[in-house]
Symmetry: C3
Subunit: 154 residues, 3 copies
């Protein structure tokens, strides 16, 4: 069933990736008390890792911003798998953003904006979220960015 | 409207900073189901970064403890902006503490105590929280400490 | 009062450690709105740190997997202290896993599986959780793994 957020995605020319299976023994999301907890998503695009490397070393800021955007698209793919329809998203509550940057790298906020900007573009005020953005010493599969989320649902 | 926590702050001689605007495209807090989710706060004091550097290198433990305290004051400034009155805090549920330390640094708990001690001093039993304290490879703006929070509200 | 999870632990030959006191000024768990928030647990076993060091350097993957398992046992020890009976666990919602790995280490998921596998072994479908697994530059007491949790309770 297509809804208004599906229409918004179409209008913006945004495709969602397939909801990725976890890389280990856990599930991609859990629903509890009208909250959807989404596991840490990495920049997968339909089964392949789109970016690997360290930001400010092998990966440029622009690439890292896009990696964060792809993490957010995967969060939405999981939300769609969980909820059936993204119109059931009431509010993006919180993003936890982890960035594997070179020594001295301090642009974690700029990188995680790749996710934040996308969510606001799609959901408007419902997409405005609290977040943390911190440096991480190494991430699964060598990706530069991992983001998890808590989402209020109908 | 001044409340009993405002009176307690006055008694302790504690001033709150201005609630800082986010450094990127997100909001400083979201309220959902009687929980206040506060975005990661850094040691800002009225618009200026109070500390930058790496703990155990450019920043001493004592300075890092104070940086964590200032992060907690910013969490309270956001809570006051969100709730109007800090008497609406029912319980500090969880702090997520990130410390940028020199290689081999293991005193993350001592650093984050700067925040924990303050919250207990102000709120008593309501200020006793669960927390994690971990090392972070780089933080926004070069700060040594970032802390986010989940708070139960009336 | 022994319950079915206690029986399951016995069947699996699993002992829980003593619930460890926090290493600083906070509490090991907070209950809010039928959610149990457990503070970051490290590989303590009855008061002693079982592992210290960096994964891929001083600590092997197998040891790190066991360290994560011990973190999860400590999470359960805290849950039992909080709830009296582990049958009151409705669902493990989320694990936050932090791994102190050598430069270039990317097997955080394999390490945190030590916790995830145990929870599924004990709780079955109720043990299936969302999670993040990230690299951490240094952890309290020099441990290789720290894990926190959010658990839905009856």
């Amino acid at each position: 069933m297509a809804g208004s957020i599906d229409a918004r995605l179409k209008e913006l020319g945004i495709d969602l990736p397939e909801a990725a299976a976890p890389v280990a023994n856990y599930v991609p999301y859990v629903i509890d008390h009208k909250q959807l907890w989404v596991a840490g998503q990495v920049p997968f695009w339909n089964g392949a890792v789109k970016y690997t490397g360290v930001v400010g070393q092998d990966v440029s800021i622009d690439q890292a911003v896009d990696a964060a955007r792809v993490c957010a698209l995967n969060i939405l793919a999981q939300a769609k798998a969980a909820l059936g329809n993204l119109d059931n998203v009431v509010r993006i509550i919180k993003l936890g953003g982890f960035v594997n940057g070179a020594p001295g790298f301090t642009d974690q906020p700029k990188v995680i904006n790749g996710a934040s900007d996308l969510l606001v573009e799609i959901f408007g005020d419902k997409g405005l979220h609290a977040r943390s953005a911190v440096g991480s010493a190494g991430l699964p599969l060598g990706v530069p960015v991992e983001i998890d989320a808590v989402i209020a649902i109908a």
